[in-house]
Amino acid sequence: MNEIKQQPIIMLENVSKFFGEFQALKNVNLTVSKGQKVVVCGPSGSGKSTMIRCINRLEKHDNGRIVVDGIELSKDTRGIDAVRSEVGMVFQQFNLFPHLTVVKNLMLAPRRVRKTSKEGSRELAMQYLERVHIAEQADKWPSQLSGGQQQRVAIARALCMKPQIMLFDEPTSALDPEMINEVLDVMIELANEGMTMICVTHEMGFARSVADLIVFMDNGEIVESNAPDEFFENPRSERTKFFLDQIL
């Protein structure tokens, strides 16, 4: 735990974000070290998704600094593609490209961004499909797969870019209950391999077993961040207690 603290790979400093008049993020500070697993929780509308979407600049922050792998996110768009290819993201709604087969969903970015050959990217894709235990579905259309399978494909698609960081934005919230575990299992495997992860989720069992750090957000602020044991056993703020009472 001490060794990984030395290398911050993501740094948010006093980050604020407005949607019109509404302030979605209020002076958020967060430092994530290489290999760290962070779970972000909080009520809906608390700014969790907005925060992780700022990290790969799907949302632009208005104030403060965000530095990812040594690159500061700013108006300069050249840095952004570099950051995005280092940061994988998994969405609540999977967002697989419906017009491409599963394997081609995985091949697109390596081919276009990394300029990998067709054969090379297919090999890479099959390797990652294997890893999320879904290689036999390679030539199907996304719409032929179950939700859990689609989300595993989405994880494999992000991994094909060999990212240093993975962001998960409520990856199991759109799934039927019986499919949640197959996705969480893949995420746990990934965590065990040392991937740096930030995960917005309501799966507290996952948080407890995987996270190094739990961040609780409410009203656009980070109310509390702590190691899982402390977070669940001795929450410091009333808001955290209230939230935990409701979901546990």
Binding site: D81, R84, A109, R112, R157
Partner: protein, 229 residues
């Protein structure tokens, strides 16, 4: 009045001779119109006012005026200007065929630009974000994600527009072209049998429409093969 059924059969082959010209007008205008539509679509969605406003004005003007007037303005109006008659464009504008193709292309281009824009706007925003998150450039996202999905979404409206265009080609007969309608009008002038002759022409348009419908239906099926029924 009498209805001479035999006259229909007799005149069909002659009217059929106009199909070549009708199809040339159709394919050339549809092709050029599509080129224009893509250019104006890109201008319209560029997010830059100096591109989107001209595109908006073009679309407004050519959707907002009758094609017949557009053909007349181009065919009868433009040659009034000496500089037009002296320009390289004159070789095209001097011919009724060139004028008709230009007018039809400009008109259908305006409609198609809006049809394509509808398709582009119909593409799920989440797919864009997924592409962006993978590091795909804006250009690659447009080419590999937006375009194939937008094309599929636009096909029904697009085929509608091509059918409209087929019928609009009949207006070229007003500037002396002998397309299907032009030939029919000539025969009517000789036989004074408008009923039978124009019905024959109508049959030909119906047959062509059927072929277009069928073609687009197959294309749509191919483009929608990933959609679960």
């Amino acid at each position: 009045m009498t209805f001479d059924f035999y006259l229909i059969i007799e005149s069909l082959p002659e009217i059929f001779g106009g199909i070549g010209l009708t199809l040339q007008l159709l394919f050339l205008s549809a092709f050029l119109g599509l080129m224009l539509a893509v250019i104006f679509l890109l201008m319209r969605i560029s997010g830059r006012w100096y591109l989107s406003i001209p595109a908006f004005i073009y679309i407004y003007i050519f959707r907002g005026t009758p094609i017949l007037i557009q053909i007349f303005v181009i065919y009868y109006g433009l040659p009034q200007f000496e500089w037009i008659r002296e320009s390289v464009l004159w070789s095209v504008l001097r011919e009724p065929f060139g004028c008709s193709v230009i007018a039809l292309s400009l008109n259908t281009g305006a409609y198609m630009a809006e049809i394509l824009r509808g398709g582009v706007l119909g593409v799920d925003k989440g797919l864009h974000e997924a592409g962006a998150a993978l590091g795909l450039s804006a250009r690659d996202r447009f080419l590999y994600i937006t375009t194939p999905i937008a094309v599929r979404l636009a096909i029904p409206a697009y085929s509608n527009d091509v059918i409209s265009l087929l019928k609009a080609t009949a207006l070229a007969s007003t500037v002396t072209l002998l397309d299907v309608t032009g030939v029919a009008r000539t025969i009517v002038a000789q036989t004074f049998a408008p009923y039978e002759i124009f019905l024959s022409a109508a049959i030909i348009y119906l047959a062509l429409t059927w072929l277009i419908q069928r073609g687009f239906r197959l294309f749509e099926k191919h483009m929608s093969r990933y959609v679960q029924q």
